[in-house]
Amino acid sequence: MGSSIVSYGLQYAGYLIEASLLLYLAGSRQRKGQASVVFYLGSLLALEAARGWALHAYGLSSWRYFYVYWSTDFLLVVSAFLLVCLFFRRACLHEEKMWRFARLLLVFVFLVVLGISGLIFSHNYSHLFTYFIVEFNQNLYFTCLVLNTLLYLLLQQIESTDDQLGLLVCGVGIQFAGPTAALALLHLTGGERFAQSITTSVMPICNLGMLLVWAYAIVCLRDKETKVARHKIPTLAEVTAESNF
């Protein structure tokens, strides 16, 4: 009971930060390069809202909620993959050759995940939601974690000066790695109670962790950049004082 209250608290704190970050980005003047963040935050909020609505309308044990839940889960994983793609694009903004290779790699990886999941689905044709989507989501989620780590290594390799992107990638890494580990533990223990409670608490904690790192990257780093930029520009009085009039 206590752990589920904490879990709900963390979940709602996450919604609040997602909405605040979106509002901050909407009101901010510098929107360049933030499309990936806006896209992911927007899809998180919209899909969570859809889930909440379905739960309220149909109830936890209904089939309709079951379908809505797994469909939104599928869309969430696909949007996570697209987020990683957009981060790759941002990292390779001045490296066209690298981007061409990364684009091919991303498409290839997506097709491989789709193929493997499809192969499993072909053996259990009647269970679209229980086999294909669960398998596809797990595979793609783990793939996103691996691709995100590759992106981090790429940023180190090209000595990227985009500090904000570095922190955004680290935040995504926390968000992907925690739940993946928890789900693997759940799978290994065969759904033991302690593994279930770990999974229930790890997921919102990691989501919150990612959002806080993103908030730091978006709000604090931008503030510092603005302050540095302001510091560099001399005022009219300073220019006049320095000149020999």
Binding site: L167, T180, A184, L212, V213
Partner: protein, 158 residues
């Protein structure tokens, strides 16, 4: 079963890797000047001398004394972070994350001590966190004008 175990090991390792990298990225923040020295002097903090002795001589220090020094500096700095020239009287998100990182590294220091592997590296990481905290406190105190008081005077009167 083997695949699930591999995924568990890999993703747990990656989780801690990303946690560490995030903290190190926050610690890389540049301050407009070095505030930590005046804060350390005013509060008789020992981490700058500890860091200097490790960097210059790599000399092993008495472990129990070292733990005590780091812990005392950490407690003093976290108190100052919360109370010195902080209108909200609470930690920011990045400070909370770094507090967690410090505790994690403190634990890792004990493990490294047992295994006798990379002790000095862990101590340097801990002093880097303390230096960051001292810089944040110094910057905040510097931003607030207290008549003719310097940052050190203000902290001595706190």
């Amino acid at each position: 079963m083997i695949v699930a175990a591999l995924v568990l090991i890999l993703s747990t390792a990656l989780f801690f890797f990303y946690f560490q990298v995030t903290c190190q990225r926050i610690l890389r923040r540049q301050f407009d000047r070095e505030y930590f020295q005046s804060i350390a002097n005013a509060n008789r903090l020992e981490f700058p001398s500890l860091r200097k002795s490790l960097e210059e001589f790599g000399a092993p220090v008495d472990y129990s004394r070292l733990r005590m020094m780091l812990k005392c500096d950490f407690l003093a700095l976290t108190y100052l972070l919360k109370n010195a020239a902080n209108v909200n009287q609470r930690y920011s998100h990045d400070e909370r994350l770094l507090i967690l990182y410090f505790r994690w590294q403190f634990l890792s220091l004990a493990v490294r001590r047992l295994l006798r592997v990379g002790e000095n590296k862990a101590i340097l990481k801990l002093t880097a966190v303390l230096q960051y905290f001292a810089n944040v406190v110094g910057q905040r105190v510097n931003a607030v004008k207290f008549g003719n008081l310097t940052a050190a005077d203000y902290l001595l009167n706190l």
